[in-house]
Subunit: 114 residues, 6 copies
Amino acid sequence: MNKSIQEFNEYRSKMNDLILSKDNLVIKRLFNLDTNTYAEGALTAKTKEMLGLVASMVLRCDDCIKYHLGKCHEQELTTEEVYEIFAVANIVGGTIVIPHTRRAAEYWEELIQA
Amino acid sequence: MNKSIQEFNEYRSKMNDLILSKDNLVIKRLFNLDTNTYAEGALTAKTKEMLGLVASMVLRCDDCIKYHLGKCHEQELTTEEVYEIFAVANIVGGTIVIPHTRRAAEYWEELIQA
Amino acid sequence: MNKSIQEFNEYRSKMNDLILSKDNLVIKRLFNLDTNTYAEGALTAKTKEMLGLVASMVLRCDDCIKYHLGKCHEQELTTEEVYEIFAVANIVGGTIVIPHTRRAAEYWEELIQA
Amino acid sequence: MNKSIQEFNEYRSKMNDLILSKDNLVIKRLFNLDTNTYAEGALTAKTKEMLGLVASMVLRCDDCIKYHLGKCHEQELTTEEVYEIFAVANIVGGTIVIPHTRRAAEYWEELIQA
Amino acid sequence: MNKSIQEFNEYRSKMNDLILSKDNLVIKRLFNLDTNTYAEGALTAKTKEMLGLVASMVLRCDDCIKYHLGKCHEQELTTEEVYEIFAVANIVGGTIVIPHTRRAAEYWEELIQA
Amino acid sequence: MNKSIQEFNEYRSKMNDLILSKDNLVIKRLFNLDTNTYAEGALTAKTKEMLGLVASMVLRCDDCIKYHLGKCHEQELTTEEVYEIFAVANIVGGTIVIPHTRRAAEYWEELIQA
């Protein structure tokens, strides 16, 4: 696997473990709920990951974008589909989203070449 | 049609006309581009309207939420689907999105009863 | 009770009931979790309501501000304490918070005169 | 003067007086500092009001937008200039700024017709 | 002292000095006011630092979070208290706050082990 | 040219090329529109770059800030003028803007010493 993908996943895992080790009940439940949110339902898991991606982009959170790009890749989105999500995010959120789109584009290349 | 839906649409139209009458080229092109963004493509128009809705919710823009709810209604989303979008928005964006979800829930009832 | 306080509470209740009636599990759990978050713990309920208020102010959500002001009133915060929270919110969040502070100040007067 | 302009100014004044009457030193100094920020300096007062307007628009604060539109009107900005500021705000901040631009456009008409 | 804490503090100091050396009166006064905001008053300095931390988290500013974590450590907050602040921030601000919570959790460990 | 300025520009160029190579029409048009937005018009290009800078600062996008600082340098803004823009951004956006101002101040020094 690509080194930057691996580093991202490892840091994420390690810190999630640290956070959960502190036994704060609200945080633990929120982490659980977060997983449930993207489960297959009336909407497909694929659609929900697209929703998670566009929400992360307009809120301009690079780590969240990477996480959902990874999930979109698992859901077998095409590059054309991913760029249509980028387009919605950039139109709704404005050019302030462009720098995040650059980093997202770079990470997507890593994912499809992994 | 429900009065609040009609008022929303009329104010929106009237002010868009006012803005466009000033002939600012950048704004005119952005308005055009906005329409193109949600056109059928690699992703369906239905999916794109869902993306527009969740983006509007996490950015907490009531008018944008109403607009995309109207479009989601035209795309024949079910109430269950709409509430799964609400769920993603509330989890990603937090409880700060709840007051906007209340107004969205009210407007959705108006749309499905119209 | 003051009419604007009553109207705020009634609309909030009515729309929460509407939302919960749709049986979206993620939203129901988030609503539950929201209540737990402000329960007495290592920090007092009073401190947590202050945290909720300042967070609502810097995120500029008028309804969330009203809700937490109501809770701060129940927790018997003094006006001087409330204004020190306003001060932190305005310094961290900037003058963009001032219009929300005006509405918060108005609502606080209604609460203490109710 | 137009009724909506007058109401905006009166509510603003009345609530500022209420806030300042509570003698919170940090808030009082911030209010003072806010006034100084837009004073003539290396940049003209006109330029600074334009900066205040565009900042208010991308942060999507309707009251702040109205306030700075009023100031821009005092500084004798033309409609064409105001719409170029609207254009920057909509491109940087995205279509999420459009509903605020509608209300800004309406208020600007009231100002120039007052 | 831990290297990452030291680097953070040194960069912060050095750049504050650079900024203040330019003698912009508004910025100088804001920096002063910022210090006064967290002084003991009707609320304790400890409470105010908690307010600063939660505000920084929902606004998702990593440097501000680090700064207030440092101050919370000086105020002798326990890990349990800090995680209850994290909980409020994550519930109010949503899962978009999680990546910042990861970095906050890492920095807190450095502070308590320093 | 300073290394960090060069690196910023090169990454920006390279990723823009990657994004544009995917032929998403909406994104291509938005990139074009972005360039047009800052062209000489009723407002000078210099004024528009100042608007772009202040908007980037209150939205707290470091890359956007660097980009507009570069453009402001080309437009021959003085350090005093740049710091008055910093002042507006910090007052409107609050102390949450300070960490971005630190990085902006550092980058401005690099630009004027380049």
